[in-house]
C-alpha cells in the first residue's frame, strides 16, 4: 500500500519528533510510508478564521500532492477533520456561489482516503496492539475535532490500553475543549487561558505523569500552560507513545 504521511505544517515546523514517530511506527507495522515534499498546509487556520478564499488554493494544492496515494495518514485530528469534513463543504459552497463543480471535483478524491493516525491503525491496519512499551501513568485528552468531527471514539484509548507498561487513567471532564481553537487562543486570550488551566488542573488531579492527545496544537497550548502553572505533567503526542518500544524507548 502506498501511504502518504501528511504531517501538517505545525508538526513539520515545531514537532518533527511526532513525524519521526509516525514513520517509525508505521514502518514497524510493515507500511511503506512516503512524505511528499510538495505538502504544506491544509488551510484550516485560514478557513476557520474566515478566509475561505485563501484556504481554497491550499486545498487544491493538498489534492494535487496527495491524490495519487492509496491512503493519507495524519497525526492530527483537526487537520484530518479539515480534509474530511470541510473540503466537501468548500466544494458545496463554491457550487452554491455559481462557480461550478470544479473545486468539488478537485477535492473529492482525497476526502475518503484521509485518515487520522489512530483511525488508520485501528480501521485500516486492524491493529490495537502495536507492540509499544511505555512504562508511565498516562491520561488521554480527546481533542474536539478528533472527538466530534472525526468521531475517533474509543480508538485512541484502545491503542493506549494495549501499550505494555502503560497505566491509563481517566481524565475528568475529558470531553471539554482545552481552549486552543487556533486563532481563538489569540483573539480571546483570557477565556482560552482559563479553559487551558482548567484542563491542566483536571489532568493533574489524576496523578498522571503524561497528558496524551492526538493533536500537537492542543498539546502546544496545554504544554505552554503547564510550564506556567509549574506542574510535573508532560504533554506527549500519542504517536510518540505508540512508537516507543523496549529496544528504543521514548524518554
Amino acid at each position: 500500500m502506498r501511504v502518504a504521511l501528511f504531517l501538517t505544517c505545525v508538526n513539520d515546523t515545531l514537532y518533527p519528533d511526532t513525524g519521526r514517530a509516525v514513520v517509525k511506527l508505521l514502518t514497524r507495522l510493515g507500511v511503506d510510508v512516503d512524505f511528499p515534499m510538495g505538502q504544506t498546509c491544509c488551510g484550516q487556520a485560514h478557513y476557520n478564521t474566515g478566509y475561505r478564499h485563501e484556504a481554497e488554493p491550499l486545498a487544491r494544492k493538498f489534492s494535487d500532492v496527495f491524490r495519487e496515494y492509496e491512503a493519507i495518514v495524519t497525526p492530527s485530528g483537526s487537520c484530518g477533520a479539515m480534509v474530511r469534513e470541510l473540503y466537501p463543504r468548500m466544494g458545496e459552497r463554491a457550487r452554491a456561489e455559481g462557480r461550478g463543480d470544479g473545486l468539488a471535483r478537485t477535492l473529492a478524491p482525497v476526502v475518503p482516503k484521509t485518515y487520522e493516525l489512530t483511525e488508520f491503525l485501528v480501521d485500516v491496519l486492524g491493529v490495537t496492539d502495536v507492540g509499544a512499551y511505555y512504562p508511565h501513568k498516562v491520561t488521554y485528552h480527546p481533542t474536539c475535532h478528533g472527538l466530534r468531527s472525526l468521531g475517533l471514539g474509543e480508538r485512541p484509548r484502545r491503542l493506549l490500553q494495549a501499550v505494555k507498561g502503560l497505566e491509563l487513567v481517566e481524565l475528568p471532564g475529558a470531553d471539554e475543549c482545552c481552549g486552543f481553537g487556533g486563532t481563538f487562543a489569540v483573539k480571546n486570550p483570557d477565556v482560552s487561558a482559563a479553559m487551558g488551566a482548567d484542563k491542566v488542573r483536571n489532568a493533574e488531579s489524576t496523578g498522571a505523569e503524561v497528558l496524551c492527545a492526538a493533536d500537537n496544537s492542543c498539546l502546544m497550548h496545554l504544554g505552554g500552560t503547564m510550564t506556567r502553572l509549574r506542574t510535573d505533567l508532560r504533554p506527549v503526542h500519542i504517536a510518540e507513545i505508540l512508537a516507543s518500544t523496549e529496544e528504543e524507548p521514548l524518554v
Binding site: 518533527p16 514513520v23 512524505f35 504544506t40 478566509y51 474536539c144 481553537g181 481563538f184
Partner: protein
C-alpha cells in the same frame, strides 16, 4: 434588535472581566455542570433521540421554506378564532403596537410571562417610557428585574446569581415594586420561592392585561403554546381580560402533530425533564373563559434577512432550549453578559450578528467568541451546526460579501481592524503555496532558534502572557526526511534528538 445592550464592549474585553470574577464563574460553573449531567441522562432515556432530532430539524426547515404560506394560514386561523394579528417589521414598530394596545385598555400596568421576544425588542423599557409598568412574573426574570440587572441565560436569566445574592435583592427591592419581602427572609430556596409567590400573587389578581411570548404557534388552528416550570405563566395567560402575545415569525409549526416532537425534545434539552410541568395552549378567545381580547404581534426584526442567508438561516430553527449555553466552555467562563445581547452563548453568537448585522464592534466580535469545539452542535435538539455558521459569519466579518439587509441585497465591506490579519493570512497562503519559501522560513527559524523568545511581541503577546511557546526544534521534519531518506539512512548529521 433593541438598544438594551448598546455600548457593550466587544466580547474579549467583556469576557476579561467575567473570567476574573470568581463568584460569577463559580455560580456559572456549578449551574451549568449540574444541568449538563441531568440533560445527558434525560436524553439517554429516549431510544429514538437521533430520529426526534432529525424530525425537529426537518419540520423547522420545511416551515421556514414555506414561511410565507404558514404565516398567512396562521393569521387566518387566529382571526377566525377571535384574535387580532398585527405585523411588526422591527423592534420600534412592535413596541409602538404593544404600547398602543395597552393604552387602549386604559391600564397602566401589565403582568408578563417570561419571553425572549419581548426582551429582544426592549418592550419593558418602551412601556416604561410611556408610563406603563411591566411586572415580570417568572421567578428568574423577577430576580433580574428587581436587581435592575440584565438576563444572562435564555432559560435561567439569573443564573449568574447565587441564593445569598437573591435574598439580598428580594429584601432590598420587593417593597419598591409591591408587597415587601417577609421580615427575616433567609436564603433557603423554599423561603425565597414563598416570598416571590406572595409578591407575585398580588399582581396576578390585580392585572387586567397580560403580555406573553410563545414557544410555538400552530398554523392550522391558530393556537399558541407556552411551556414553563412554575405555572406563573399560566396565571398571566388566563387571569387578565386582555392578552397580548409577542412572537417571532419563525416560531410557527404547521400542525398539532408537529408539537409532538418538540414537546419531547425541548424539556429534555432545557430543564432535563421528561415533560414540562406546565404546557399552556390558547386559541383566540373563548366566551366566559380566559382573556376576552387577544392580540398577536408577529415580529420580524431581522428574521427574514436571516432567512435569506443559505448557511445562516439554520439559526432560525432554534427552540431556545439553552442546551448549547450549558455545554459551552466559553459561555461558562465569559458569562452571559459578555455577549451583549439577550441571546448569549453559542446561539447568541450566531443569532445576534444576523438579526442586528455585523456592523457594531460587539456583533463583529461574536463570531469569534468560540473555539469551534462543536459541543453546542452535538447537543442542539434541532441540529443547528453552530460552528458552521460561526465560520460563515467570520467570513462575512473578515472578508465582507453580499448580505440581505431589510429585504435588499447589499455588499458588505470587511469589518474594520482586520487588515493586518488579512495580510498575514495572504502571506501565509503564499508561503504555503510555495514549499520552497516555507522551507527557507523554517530553516531560518531553526538556525536562529537560540534567539527565539518564549513570549511573543505584538498581538501574539496575549497568547504568551499565560502560556509559554514551545522551543523550536533544530531541524524541521522535511529536512530530516530528506537528509535521512525517510529514516532509511542515518544521514550523517545528528537530527532533532
Amino acid at each position: 434588535m433593541s438598544g438594551t445592550f448598546v455600548g457593550m464592549p466587544a466580547f474579549p474585553e467583556a469576557a476579561h472581566e467575567a473570567v476574573h470574577n470568581t463568584t460569577l464563574r463559580g455560580n456559572l460553573r456549578h449551574a451549568t455542570h449540574t444541568i449538563r449531567a441531568k440533560r445527558a441522562n434525560a436524553v439517554a432515556e429516549v431510544s429514538d433521540w437521533a430520529a426526534l432530532r432529525e424530525a425537529g430539524k426537518q419540520i423547522k426547515d420545511h416551515t421556514l421554506r414555506h414561511l410565507d404560506r404558514y404565516l398567512v394560514q396562521l393569521e387566518e386561523s387566529v382571526t377566525a378564532a377571535g384574535g387580532t394579528v398585527h405585523w411588526a417589521a422591527d423592534a420600534d414598530e412592535a413596541n409602538r403596537i404593544v404600547t398602543y394596545l395597552v393604552k387602549a385598555t386604559g391600564e397602566s400596568e401589565v403582568v408578563k410571562v417570561k419571553s425572549m421576544a419581548t426582551q429582544e425588542i426592549g418592550l419593558n423599557e418602551a412601556l416604561e417610557a410611556e408610563g406603563i409598568r411591566a411586572y415580570e412574573t417568572d421567578l428568574a426574570e423577577l430576580i433580574v428585574q428587581l436587581g435592575n440587572d440584565r438576563p444572562s441565560h435564555i432559560l435561567v436569566p439569573a443564573i449568574h446569581r447565587n441564593r445569598g445574592e437573591i435574598r439580598d435583592i428580594f429584601a432590598r427591592e420587593m417593597s419598591e415594586w409591591g408587597r415587601p419581602a417577609p421580615e427575616g427572609l433567609t436564603d433557603t430556596p423554599a423561603e425565597l420561592a414563598e416570598a416571590a409567590r406572595l409578591h407575585l400573587r398580588e399582581k396576578f389578581l390585580r392585572a387586567k392585561v397580560g403580555v406573553s411570548g410563545a414557544n410555538f404557534m400552530v398554523a392550522e388552528t391558530g393556537t399558541l403554546v407556552v411551556v414553563e416550570s412554575e405555572g406563573n405563566g399560566r396565571m398571566c395567560l388566563t387571569l387578565p381580560e386582555t392578552l397580548i402575545s409577542v412572537v417571532g415569525i419563525e416560531k410557527i409549526v404547521p400542525t398539532w402533530r408537529d408539537l409532538e416532537v418538540f414537546l419531547q425534545t425541548l424539556p429534555r434539552s432545557s430543564t432535563a425533564e421528561r415533560m414540562n410541568p406546565y404546557t399552556s395552549t390558547w386559541t383566540g378567545t373563548t366566551d366566559d373563559d380566559g382573556p376576552q381580547t387577544f392580540h398577536l404581534v408577529l415580529i420580524d426584526n431581522g428574521r427574514t434577512d436571516t432567512l435569506a442567508d443559505e448557511v445562516g438561516r439554520q439559526a432560525l430553527r432554534c427552540i431556545r432550549c439553552s442546551a448549547c449555553l450549558n455545554v459551552c466552555p466559553v459561555y461558562e467562563r465569559a458569562g452571559g453578559h459578555a455577549y451583549g445581547s439577550v441571546y448569549p452563548g453559542p446561539i447568541g453568537a450566531i443569532l445576534s450578528p444576523q438579526l442586528r448585522g455585523t456592523g457594531s464592534e460587539i456583533d463583529s466580535s461574536l463570531p469569534y467568541a468560540s473555539s469551534l469545539c462543536g459541543a453546542c452542535y452535538e447537543v442542539c435538539p434541532v441540529a443547528i451546526d453552530i460552528p458552521e455558521v460561526l465560520v460563515h459569519l467570520r467570513e462575512r466579518v473578515a472578508q465582507g460579501g453580499p448580505v440581505t439587509e431589510r429585504g435588499g441585497k447589499v455588499v458588505l465591506k470587511p469589518a474594520k481592524g482586520h487588515a493586518a490579519e488579512r495580510a498575514a493570512m495572504r502571506a501565509a497562503r503564499w508561503a504555503f503555496s510555495h514549499p520552497g519559501a516555507l522551507r527557507a522560513g523554517q530553516r531560518l527559524a531553526s538556525r536562529t532558534r537560540r534567539f527565539h523568545p518564549r513570549t511573543l511581541p505584538g498581538p501574539g503577546r496575549a497568547w504568551s502572557a499565560s502560556r509559554d511557546l514551545p522551543a523550536l526544534p533544530p531541524e524541521p521534519f522535511r529536512d530530516w526526511w530528506q537528509r535521512t531518506n525517510g529514516g532509511r539512512t542515518d544521514g550523517g548529521r545528528e537530527g532533532t534528538k
